[in-house]
Symmetry: C2
Subunit: 351 residues, 2 copies
């Protein structure tokens, strides 16, 4: 299919996006969980607003810079799921809190001390969730007892209020996540600390969200676009993938080799344990076997595919969230087939 | 070492950059090869100009967008080592050729046809190199006979002039590269087609450039910053690495785990077959064992290192060229210790 786009380009199918938004919102509504989309996937203020209009409770950001751009666009309820440290970031956080309903997370006392010093005279206490390591092995307090201790410290800190628990359960054992959080919630309630929010997340586990009845909200990002890793994990179908990288065949050096103008500077090197750097729906047996920065090498052996130089190719990347972060603009294909350019406003917000 | 930079940030040591520029220029001067730096590594016009001032013959770009920005900055001699296809790109190429001394490459007849149609009435023939696959297995004609055929086609095409050969010999067998190019050059000269330029490249092989005496110029990008992959390949020392990612320890969930605020959205997932996602010079046994988008997980086991939350960490990434492409700004540390912010002007020039 030739889109007439100058390649490489990131193309977003608005119809598929809308279906993904409504389906996920409907699923979580059905099991009584709030949805708090993670905007890291699209970094587009207008899509964040669409997610909220469709029923999301607010949004999730990972970086203050992302949250600033979303607040600028009028998003009212923002959770930053990150340990925020350092004078510059804390000063920005205080400004941000003055213009939206802000919640952050923390997993250690040093972060809590910095937040308290920043908000002690703000007049409006900052809501802080305790980040819990329920099995993923990244950030988070290591057990429910430590969650209680940190919650107590937060509650006793000037300018802060303990607001609940947060975890990223990328581990697929959702029953373990539930046991961990239930245990922590019980300890907290016995200590007189209610948990208004228990926030879990991750698109791969989204359909198992019902196995964590203690949770009050679900954070997910990738569901809005989906990608090859989610197709291969059985979390969605190829037709649910809204984001494609449009590339052009620029060389056919041999019978079995095609070179495209999409390399690691647009598809990224994210493999997620998969073979190859993306899926070509029109030739699913063709393997994107290697990437250099601006070239992708496609192995055509046994693919039954023989693209010509100049042909345009659509690729579903392994990981959508990192691809939209590579480009200054994405292209949005509307229901009527028209294509609009859209600034990835929160791209490059590294801090 | 604390730089007071808000993290994560990409920091460039100007003193090391200058040494790398002068050393590589001096080495290639010594063996009689021109240097044509690839600006994909830094994407900074002022560094490209510094490379030219230090003796480079011109620059190499992979994308028209990069070349446009470099021409805007006053760079006069630009080689784009890419098969350029499509109406929009060809129109831009013609504009670009009107304001700099431009050379491009091609490895197939379709590309040559497009170039000829674009330049047939330009008055100034476009210089075209034939790209040769001398063993790397990416783009390029597959044998010297095909190089001759394509060169003859270029020479007979309106608006174009055959200007020589180009190859990217990432394969380490430089003697094979020499034999290939020598053979092609002989065929061309017998056919009455001189080769003013025979362009080879690649920082990893730079010290073996003398093994390809047929070459007239060398393209290299990464040498200006160097990186962990080049240190481990023996191509440079740790002290030659000018680019570091500055990160902050944001969590210490366990005795052996530290989490930093640098993930795949700044370090990238480029592994190059190495273990871990970068080198921490102050703790070389600490392994950056995993990245998610905004977190890096460091395994401290047996590292003898016990960083505190809030500590700033310098990381030499596996691959420098993709890291500077992730950020809108890099920070330049001058000889006097001062630090300046510098726009990565050609970042995001995907087409």
């Amino acid at each position: 299919m030739n889109t007439n786009l100058d390649t490489p380009a990131v193309l977003i199918d608005r119809v598929v996006v809308e279906r993904n938004i409504l389906r996920t919102q409907g699923f979580l509504d059905g099991i009584g969980l709030k949805l708090r989309p993670h905007i890291k996937t699209h970094k587009l203020p207008w899509l964040a607003k669409r997610q909220v209009a469709a029923g999301a409770a607010g949004i999730t950001c990972q970086k203050i810079g992302e949250a600033e751009i979303m607040a600028d666009a009028g998003i009212g309820d923002i959770l930053i799921t990150y340990n925020i440290l350092g004078r510059e970031k804390l000063a920005r956080l205080r400004h941000l809190a003055s213009r939206c309903d802000l919640t952050v997370s923390a997993d250690n006392e040093i972060v809590v001390d910095g937040l308290s010093a920043t908000f002690s005279e703000s007049g409006k206490p900052l809501k802080v969730l305790v980040e819990c390591d329920t099995g993923h092995g990244r950030c988070g307090v290591q057990n429910p007892e430590d969650a209680l201790k940190l919650a107590q410290m937060i509650e006793q800190s000037a300018g802060l209020t303990f607001y609940g628990l947060m975890t990223y359960p990328a581990a697929h054992d959702m029953k373990r996540v539930e046991a961990w959080l239930q245990n922590a919630k019980n300890l907290l309630e016995k200590a007189g600390l209610p948990c208004p929010v228990i926030s879990i997340g991750g698109t791969p586990n989204l359909r198992s969200a019902g196995e964590v009845p203690t949770a009050t909200e679900y954070r997910a990002g990738t569901y809005i676009y989906n990608d090859r890793s989610l197709v291969l994990a059985g979390a969605c179908s190829i037709g649910d993938c809204a984001l494609t990288v449009q590339a052009t065949v620029v060389s056919r050096p041999t019978e079995t080799r095609a070179i495209i103008d999409a390399g690691s500077k647009i598809l990224t090197s994210d493999l997620f344990g998969l073979n190859g750097y993306g899926l070509i729906p029109e030739a699913p047996k063709a393997q994107i076997s290697g990437l250099s920065e601006e070239h992708g090498t496609i192995d055509l052996a046994n693919s039954g595919w023989d693209p010509a130089i100049g042909d345009q190719v659509a690729i579903i990347p392994n990981h959508a969230c990192v691809v939209s972060n590579m480009v200054n603009f994405v292209y949005i294909r509307r229901r009527d087939g028209s294509v609009e350019k859209s600034l990835v406003a929160a791209r490059g917000c590294v801090s």
